[in-house]
C-alpha cells in the first residue's frame, strides 16, 4: 500500500476552455459531490499534485504552460483530460491556433468526454486515474526491487515512443541542471526519433519490461558517436549509464575511436563518461549558460 489511491491531490489547469468544464470541476468540490471525502485536495501547486486535470484544447499560449506544469509534478503522476476539447480538440480541432487535445503535448492517462463534462463523470475519471497512479507506482517499485536484473538489449523501432518518453523525463532533470528548457533532447518529436533508428543503433536498459535507460550510437568513418545517454531519474546513480556506454561500444566492433559529448555544467554525465574512459578534447559554446564538451576514447 502506498496511500497513493487514498490521497489524490489535484492541480487544475484551464488550457483554453470556455470555463464550462472548469465550473464543473469546481462543482466537484461543493457539498453535493464533495470529492474531499475521497481525500482529494485541490492544491494549485504542481509540486504537491498527483493528478493533473486539464480542460480545453491546446493553443499556442497554453502549450508551454501545460508542459511546464507537467514537468514540475513529482512522479508518479497522472493526467486527466476533462471535456471533449481536452480529449480531442473538440469543435476547435481545426482552428488555426489549436494543436489538438492535451495528448498532443503530454501523455494523457484518462479521457473524460462531455461538453461540458458532468461532475459525476469527472469524479469517475479521477477515481480511474487513481488506478493508473497505483499501477505506475507498482511498476516503478517492481523495477526498483529488480535493479540487479537490468537487461541491456538492442532497441527496435517499436521502442521509439518509450525511448522518447524516457528521453523527456531524463532530459527534464538535465534542463534543470542547465536552467535551459530548449535542449535538443526535449524538442525531438516521435517522427524524428523513428528516423534516427534508420541511421543509429539504440541500446535500451530494461527492468521488468520497462525501459529505464537508453543510448544511441552512430558510425562516422572509423569513429562511433555515442549520444543521447538517458537514465530514468529513479534509477540514476546505479552505474546504468556507464553500462549503457559499454554496451553501445560493443555494437561497433570495427570502430577505432569513440566520441561523446555533453554540456559543461552537467557534472554527473561528465563523471559518467570519465569513468567509462573518455577524455575531453574539444569544447564549443552552445548558449551563454551551456558549453558542449566533446570527449573521445581510443579502442584498446
Amino acid at each position: 500500500m502506498s496511500g497513493l489511491s487514498k490521497s489524490p491531490w489535484i492541480i487544475h489547469y484551464d488550457a483554453s476552455s470556455c470555463n464550462g468544464c472548469d465550473i464543473e470541476v469546481l462543482a466537484c468540490l461543493t457539498p453535493i459531490f464533495d470529492v474531499e471525502r475521497l481525500g482529494v485536495v485541490n492544491t494549485g501547486n504542481p509540486k504537491h499534485a498527483d493528478i493533473f486535470l486539464v480542460t480545453g484544447a491546446v493553443n499556442e499560449q497554453s502549450r508551454d504552460v501545460i508542459r511546464n506544469i507537467y514537468n514540475q509534478m513529482p512522479e508518479p503522476k497522472v493526467v486527466v483530460a476533462v471535456g471533449i476539447c481536452a480529449s480531442t480538440g473538440g469543435i476547435f480541432r481545426e482552428c488555426y491556433n489549436i494543436s489538438g487535445g492535451i495528448d498532443s503535448v503530454i501523455p494523457v492517462d484518462v479521457y473524460v468526454p462531455g461538453c461540458a463534462a458532468r461532475p459525476e463523470a469527472i469524479v469517475d475519471g479521477v477515481v480511474q486515474a487513481l488506478g493508473v497512479l497505483e499501477q505506475k507506482h507498482k511498476d516503478t517499485q517492481a523495477a526498483v526491487s529488480n535493479m540487479d536484473n537490468v537487461l541491456y538489449l538492442r532497441a527496435e523501432k517499436s521502442d521509439a515512443p518509450d525511448i522518447l518518453a524516457l528521453q523527456k523525463t531524463a532530459g527534464q532533470c538535465e534542463a534543470e541542471v542547465y536552467n535551459e528548457e530548449n535542449l535538443p533532447a526535449l524538442q525531438q518529436t516521435l517522427g524524428e526519433l523513428q528516423n534516427d533508428f534508420d541511421q543509429a543503433v539504440f541500446i535500451k536498459a530494461v527492468v521488468n519490461g520497462k525501459i529505464i535507460g537508453s543510448v544511441r550510437g552512430q558510425t562516422r568513418d572509423d569513429t562511433a558517436l555515442v549520444s543521447g545517454i538517458s537514465v530514468h531519474p529513479y534509477f540514476q546513480r546505479h552505474d546504468i549509464g556507464r553500462r549503457l556506454v559499454e554496451e553501445v561500444e560493443k555494437a561497433f566492433p570495427n570502430a577505432k575511436r569513440f566520441e561523446a559529448f555533453t554540456g559543461q555544467p552537467n557534472k554527473r554525465s561528465l563523471h559518467l563518461l570519465g569513468r567509462a574512459g573518455y577524455q575531453e578534447f574539444k569544447t564549443e559554446p552552445f548558449t551563454p549558460a551551456i558549453t558542449w564538451v566533446y570527449l573521445q576514447k581510443e579502442r584498446q
Partner: protein
C-alpha cells in the same frame, strides 16, 4: 511521572494525536461547510502518499533545513513535556520556525519567498505575546519551569485571563489558520500557490506535515498549562480551543499582513501586558513576603532545568523579582 517517560510518550504519541487532530480538523471544517469530509485518518494517508512520491528540489540544502525544522520542533516539545524551562522552550520554538523560513528562502522561487517573508512577519506578530505568556505564568507561579507551573495548586487562567486570551490569539497565528493563514495557503486560496511550502514535495513535505503535528500537540499542551490544577478541565479546554480555532478559521476571511501584525501587537499590549501590569500592581503590596517565596522557588526551578539553561533562566528570574 518521570520526565523521561513523559518525553518518550510525547515522542511516540504526539504524531498520532497530532495526525488525528488534523483529521478531525478537516472533518469538522467539512461539517461546518455541510460537506461529508475526508476520513479521520486522511492526514496519515497523505503523509504515506507523500513518502512514496518523487522528491523534487530546487537546491538539495532546502531539505536539510526542513529536517532540522522537524528536529527542533520535536526538541521544543520534548523540553516542554519534560518539564524544562519555558523560556528555553520558546527559544527552541523560534529557532524551529527560523529553520522553516530558511528552507523556504533556500528554494529561490517568488512564491516561496513571499511565504517565507510572511512567516517571518507572523513570527514577529506572535513572539511578544508568547514571551508575555511565559512571564505571566512566572508572575503567578514564581517559576519558569514547566514542571513547577503544572504542579501549581491554583488555576492559572483565573489570574491570567488576559494572557490566556492573548495566547488564544497567538494560537490562531501558530496554527496557520484564517484569518492568519498568510504564509501558507491552505484550502482554496491560491494566490501564493502554496506560500512557504510551495517548493517542497515528496518526503520533505511529509516531514513538514509531521512537524506541524508535533507543534500542534505542543501548543495544545501549553493551553493545558493554564488549567493544569484541574486536569480534566485542562484536556477539555485544550480540545475546546482546538475546535474554536477551527470555527474561527471557517468564519473569517484572511487579513492583510499589516492588520495581522498590528492587531497581534495590540492584543499583546492590551490583554497580555495589561494582565501582567495588574498582577504586578496587586502583588506590589505584600512585596516583603513575596520575595522569600521567589527565593524558594528559584532553587526548585534550577533543579529541574538542564545546567546550560539554568543560568539565563535564573538571570531572568532575578530581573523580574527585582521589578516586583
Amino acid at each position: 511521572m518521570n520526565s523521561w517517560i513523559r518525553i518518550l510518550i510525547y515522542l511516540v504519541a504526539a504524531p498520532i494525536v497530532g495526525g488525528l487532530l488534523a483529521g478531525w480538523d478537516r472533518r469538522i471544517s467539512a461539517r461546518m461547510q455541510s460537506r461529508q469530509g475526508p476520513p479521520i485518518r486522511q492526514p496519515f494517508y497523505d503523509v504515506q502518499k507523500l513518502w512514496s512520491k518523487q522528491n523534487i528540489v530546487v537546491r538539495r540544502s532546502q531539505n536539510f533545513y526542513i529536517g532540522f525544522f522537524l528536529l527542533m520542533v520535536i526538541f521544543t516539545g520534548a523540553l516542554f513535556f519534560g518539564g524544562s524551562d519555558l523560556l528555553l522552550v520558546i527559544f527552541a520554538l523560534t529557532l524551529a520556525a527560523i529553520f522553516f523560513v530558511l528552507g523556504a528562502y533556500k528554494a529561490s522561487s517568488p512564491y516561496s519567498f513571499i511565504g517565507a517573508e510572511r512567516e517571518l512577519i507572523q513570527i514577529m506578530a506572535y513572539e511578544p505575546m508568547v514571551l508575555l505568556t511565559a512571564i505571566g505564568m512566572y508572575m503567578v507561579t514564581k517559576s519558569f519551569a514547566v514542571n513547577d507551573i503544572a504542579n501549581h495548586p491554583t488555576l492559572l487562567v483565573l489570574a491570567l485571563p488576559g494572557v490566556f486570551l492573548g495566547f488564544l490569539y497567538t494560537l490562531e497565528i501558530k496554527f496557520r489558520k484564517s484569518p492568519f493563514d498568510l504564509s501558507c495557503s491552505h484550502h482554496a486560496h491560491q494566490e501564493l500557490v502554496r506560500g512557504i511550502t510551495t517548493e517542497f514535495s515528496g518526503r520533505t513535505l511529509a516531514l513538514i506535515e509531521i512537524a506541524h503535528w508535533y507543534e500542534n500537540v505542543f501548543l495544545l499542551g501549553w493551553v493545558y498549562l493554564f488549567f493544569a490544577s484541574m486536569p480534566v478541565l485542562g484536556v477539555a479546554m485544550s480540545l475546546f480551543v482546538f475546535v474554536f480555532v477551527i470555527l474561527v478559521d471557517n468564519v473569517f476571511a484572511r487579513l492583510k499582513w499589516q492588520t495581522a501584525i498590528r492587531s497581534a501587537w495590540i492584543v499583546a499590549a492590551v490583554f497580555g501586558f495589561g494582565n501582567i501590569l495588574v498582577l504586578s500592581l496587586l502583588s506590589a503590596k505584600p512585596a516583603i513576603p513575596a520575595a522569600p517565596a521567589a527565593a524558594i522557588a528559584q532553587p526548585a526551578a534550577s533543579r529541574t532545568v538542564p545546567a546550560a539553561a539554568a543560568t539565563p533562566a535564573l538571570n531572568n528570574a532575578n530581573v523580574i523579582a527585582q521589578r516586583n
